[in-house]
Symmetry: D2
Amino acid sequence: MKSKYVFEINMKVRDYECDLQGIVNNANYQHYIEHTRSEFLRSEGISFVKLHEQGIDTVVARLSMVYKSPLRPDDTFQSCLAVRKEGIRYVFMQDIFRLPDHKHVLHADVTIVCLINGRLSDCELLNEIFGKYFQNE
Amino acid sequence: MKSKYVFEINMKVRDYECDLQGIVNNANYQHYIEHTRSEFLRSEGISFVKLHEQGIDTVVARLSMVYKSPLRPDDTFQSCLAVRKEGIRYVFMQDIFRLPDHKHVLHADVTIVCLINGRLSDCELLNEIFGKYFQNE
Amino acid sequence: MKSKYVFEINMKVRDYECDLQGIVNNANYQHYIEHTRSEFLRSEGISFVKLHEQGIDTVVARLSMVYKSPLRPDDTFQSCLAVRKEGIRYVFMQDIFRLPDHKHVLHADVTIVCLINGRLSDCELLNEIFGKYFQNE
Amino acid sequence: MKSKYVFEINMKVRDYECDLQGIVNNANYQHYIEHTRSEFLRSEGISFVKLHEQGIDTVVARLSMVYKSPLRPDDTFQSCLAVRKEGIRYVFMQDIFRLPDHKHVLHADVTIVCLINGRLSDCELLNEIFGKYFQNE
């Protein structure tokens, strides 16, 4: 499937995110893509925090990341996102590209599920928000 | 494949690793399993840092994580590891279990490759160190 | 004032806490000393998390740190703590020593205040818990 | 002394920087102000990373922070910086203001020293770069 991104933000590496090898530490990419999902949700007028306060917890059930090329201090990058629905799960397809050369840094598939008052549930609110973006075959 | 762990360490959640939802933030599990691999290597008398100083960089090429159950403040847990070889790649199979009830928290498969002086290479040193632990079918 | 520690824990540097310079990144010491305070509180049967759930938020009002000597990958260290009361503020005097040579790594003074239901207050519960440890001149 | 800032950047809180209390974890402010110093240096055409590669390590010797008001998820803020020289030490006076209301979040004084090939030294390069900004009484 050729994914068409529905949201993009630009970010910049911060020195403290780099480790002994002089490159961004692996775990920080997870922060980048989490922040991208948060900002996507905010662009729709809602947030994970507000959802949490309403008793809706979105949790990562599954994550896979393919590291293509490392980011280094001073690099800027574009973090892109598409989303599809699989049963009650939301699957975010996320890519990071270094700027300005668009070198592919990372691909991730992140599966999110909703717990409503602690119970695994289909979330009408998120279906409504994300629905127009779903890219299912 | 039923994996038999070749290394285990116990750790404890630190409050600052938890986020707004009151559970350990997803990216921190990646820190836990990275630390486990580091300590495994140290138990063999070498370290990623020393390897880096010798021009051998071990980099994560691929990572998949299945989140089974979250860790919370004050939880202690056991982080376990097995390793196999696939071509020139090292695949670490890692599991985290909450203590004392051994509830399954996370399963991860982490694929590591070696760059020797910047070039993707088979690493004799790591083959020697890890070789006795390889669990290939 | 010669401080006499009332609580100590041993910890170990994790590789991912080190930055490009090959030493523990400055902000991580703040994590170490926060974790030490958390564990001190837990050793008294309470936790910052439980306090938060009871509407008691302990917040850092002021922090000063003197960096004496850096920690490096594979270092183990001892994190020590004493506490005194100044008005409604709790001042934690914290030191980190590298092991096994007890080289002085860091001294910190951390001033904590309590917000009870959002209002700056003297906290009877914490006074009771910490009272026996106060080291006032 | 009334400090006049010589550098400013805008940043945004990322959800993962917030902890159980729903506010940015204390240690992350240290990241914010470190990133601000890094970007200040970059705006002058140099970086801590490049300095490190030239054998010049800038290390934090002393840090004090006064927490005025917490940042929360979705907050944007302005991070401002001034610098003065005291002997061979560089003292950065840093403030964070929430946007758009300019509420004062944090004041920090950060003392940096230079190690040139491991030896505490006065750094001509940094004197030249920072010199025009020094705000000494």
